[in-house]
Amino acid sequence: MTRGSLTRTKYALCAAYTLLAPAAGAQARAGREASESQGATVRGRATSGSPTEQTIAPQELRAVPRGGAPDLLALAPGFFLSSHAGEGKAHQFFLRGFDAQHGQDVEFSVGGAPVNDVSNAHGQGYADLNYVIPEVVDRLTVIEGPYDPHQGDFAVAASARMDLAVRDRGVLVRGQYGTYDAMRAVAVWAPRGASNETFVAGELGRSNGWGPSRASQRAAAMAQYQRELGAFTVRALLQSYAGSWQSAGVVREPDFLQGIQGFFEARDPQQGGFSARHGAVIEARFRHGSTTGSIRAWLTRREFRARENYTGFALDPRGDRYEQTYSATSFGLDAEARQPLLSWLNLRGGAFARHDVTTQSMQRERFVDAVAYQRMIDADVNATDIALWAELEARPLSWLELRAGLRGDGLAFQIDDRIARSGGAMEPRGRRDAQGIHLGPKASARLRFARDWTLDLAYGKGFRSPQATTLGQGENAPFATVHSGEAALRFNGARGSASVSGYLTHVDRDLVFDPVLGQNLTIAGAEATTRVGASANARLAPVRGLVLLASATYARASFDATGRAVPYVPSLVARLDAAFDREIGRVRGVPVALSAGVGASLIGYRELPFSERSEPVLLVDAGASVRVSVVEVGVKLRNVFDARWRDGQFNYSSDWDAAPGGSRVPVRHFTAGRPFTADFTVGVQL
């Protein structure tokens, strides 16, 4: 066998594994790799199906304090999460120059089930990850850009997938208590002898919140079972979650400066919300000859309610607080397979189908007694997304790997709009239906040179489905279409890895948050936007037990029509995580381990309307724990330096005085960022 053919074989095996992994779900891989991989954290394409795919093992960095499972996303380059409306509401995601709001530009999946809400009245693609118990997140896989044909709706800026498994088998019971009367209890049972993907976990939490109107509660349960059945590997996941939160809302900057409103004070104490999610996933992975694949079915029930007030009384003297509700029953199928066609050519393909039966509403309510006085949305939306995709992977030369794929999505919407027509008529707007097709070609090339170096070039076209209530009868559903190109230089060494990439992304129908209307809107005459950015990340494991993870992303986003900057997008997001976890000795024969971690986030300025910029923010978290035999005691410090920072920042008009006469000129508003908190943990691992 020649060296070339050997290399090709190696590549084929690698690629086969790569392709199989996402196809069959990373769950199995997680289990298999538990013993063989002690640390591969941020990796390039070594085990991926997309040139920009990066896999992170968050448990390796668990010493770094985090709020919950959504905060794990900060480990991926360029991700910044804002929690401006209370703990319990979905985070606001920023990455690669996108203000992805609550998920409109990022496709999320957990355990094989999609997370983004279709046509949620609060925001298209709303993705509430709070239901995920962080202790059972084994792998976080992020595909930046829309370069993989498996990526579907909402994969405008990226896709993020959480795979669930527990490597530390046995029973874990952990309690946490901290400032602001925050309590959390979690229990995980991972039966020994079963695969890593088999576990039962539960979580209860509550907090008075760091300031008025910030209390929250949550309860979550997740159970997963996986076993081999002949040629099949079967996995079933059940989960249930309910969370509620209060929100302090915005602080009007001039009022804060004049002492009218405190930094953490709430002007409207009736803000908050409720979110619930109940779901099931069943998956079968199979091998038939040289063909491998998987088929997965999922069912999800969602309930959501949010009450927010950004403008006080500016729109109506009765009060501007709005309530948005959304409930949905969603189910779908996701099947894919991979087959070698030639020695140097593989075919990957799959089908995806999803149906959402939703009901949504939005209404304004009186400030004093919360009685609704104006209904703006009252609709049932049934949405269907059916997709087929295929990708050819060729390795014509030992140093060259090519991929070309195509994804076609057919989306259909049926809308029953119960809002009365304009002009004083009583008749509802009635039923409408709309349908559209989106074709998204993808292509990439990987050039391998030197021993550990690769150069990746990628292009992809992705889409975001429209908010259904904006569609007209018979409208050819106007997708937001994204074209993205990327070049990346990657290094993968034994003790470290690094990559540098540049990208260009164009969105033809972008959405910008309008705090006054509480919705994301396209801006007439300036719908299209372009982002140019660069990203770098590196991972080092210089000594045993120590892992360093650093990333930085710089992006500029602008409107094509005006050349002006897209508001609210952070220019720079940098993150450093350092975690040390190692047995340091024995006391009377009992092993003692020390774990310590530091995480630092630097969020650069954000462009705001009227040529203003928010201030850069540096946040540092730190934590440490000592593990003696089966008992672990630790402390988690968030915002160590107690930086008084402004989380969400907006420029718009508001008036918090019910009496007429207040100014309507736009002013700065902000939501107060999390102050210093300390939480103490005690855990037992049996």
């Binding site: 295929a390 027509r421 002009g423 709309a434 904006t470 050819n476 005459g525």
Partner: protein, 282 residues
């Protein structure tokens, strides 16, 4: 095995390419319609009025021109044939006034039309030749004839012709969606220029709480011939009417009932029923 795979692969690629190539922009057509709704075809019932009057039109002539459908930054389609006169009274249903074919099937967000003065080059739509002559003779954009009835005050007739050009643009439908969604296929997408005749009797020019009234108009019948003319309306100064009625907002030079009714003409044009447009004189 490999041979079979190759064939399979080739077939797949061809199918993909054909599929991609077949995805050209679909086209449809627009059936442009005009209607005065039941208020013109039948009557404006007394229940609509604040003061007990009811109105029945016998003629409602509109001179329509400049009908255009466009997508921002995209294609634009116009109804050809120049200005035409339509009588909306006999139209029990929306009247088809023309079809625009080969229209890209998509949302055309900028819909506009004009209610403009008839000229020598104007032609008849469904109106009679004599109607056309009336419109051309007075250079009218809108001409209405009708009768108002009141159980206590009897009846008054009116015959009013209005000059002036108004462009209705950026029309949104009753769901506040811009323009018109043209669907592909053989069935034409209807797009309706709707004329709200009741607006001629509103008592506020810039008032969301405006009411329909006819009392003051009936009282303008100075010569007691039971026919209220525009000249008679011109003799009624608004300052002789209660201050809460016939408010003018920021409109200039609206001093008499004639000025008032003439100003209201610019608000009659609507889109697809209750949809609104921006209005502009030109």
């Amino acid at each position: 095995m490999m041979k079979t795979s190759k064939k399979w692969l080739q077939s797949g690629c061809v199918a993909l390419l054909v599929g991609l190539g077949a995805c050209g922009a679909p086209v449809g057509s627009i059936d442009v319609r005009a209607w005065g709704e039941e208020f013109v075809a039948n009557e404006i019932p007394a229940s609509e009025f604040e003061d007990g009057w009811g109105v029945q039109f016998s003629k409602f002539l509109v001179h329509v021109s400049g009908v255009r459908f466009a997508a921002t930054g995209g294609p634009s389609y116009s109804l050809t044939g120049g200005g035409r006169v339509f009588d909306l009274k006999p139209a029990a249903q929306a009247l088809s006034i023309g079809t625009i074919s080969m229209v890209e099937a998509r949302r055309l967000d900028d819909v506009r039309f004009e209610l403009s003065e008839a000229t020598a080059s104007s032609t008849v739509g469904n109106a009679s030749a004599s109607d056309l002559m009336v419109m051309q003779g007075g250079r009218y954009a809108l001409y209405v004839e009708g009768t108002a009835s009141h159980p206590m005050r009897g009846t008054r007739s009116f015959r009013w012709g209005f000059t002036g050009n108004t462009r209705f643009s950026n029309c949104r439908d009753a769901s506040s969606q811009p323009g018109l969604v043209v669907t592909s296929g053989t069935a034409a997408t209807p797009g309706q220029l709707t004329f709200h005749a009741d607006h001629l009797f509103y008592d506020g020019l810039q008032n969301p709480e405006a009411k329909l009234r006819f009392d003051a108009i009936a009282s303008a019948d100075r010569n007691m011939d039971m026919m209220v003319t525009l000249d008679e309306l011109a003799t009624v100064d608004l300052t002789t009417l209660p201050t809460g009625q016939y408010t003018t907002g920021s409109a200039r030079n609206v001093n008499t009932l004639r000025d008032y009714v003439t100003a209201l003409v610019t608000t009659v044009g609507h889109w697809n029923g209750e949809g609104h447009c921006d209005e502009a004189h030109f």
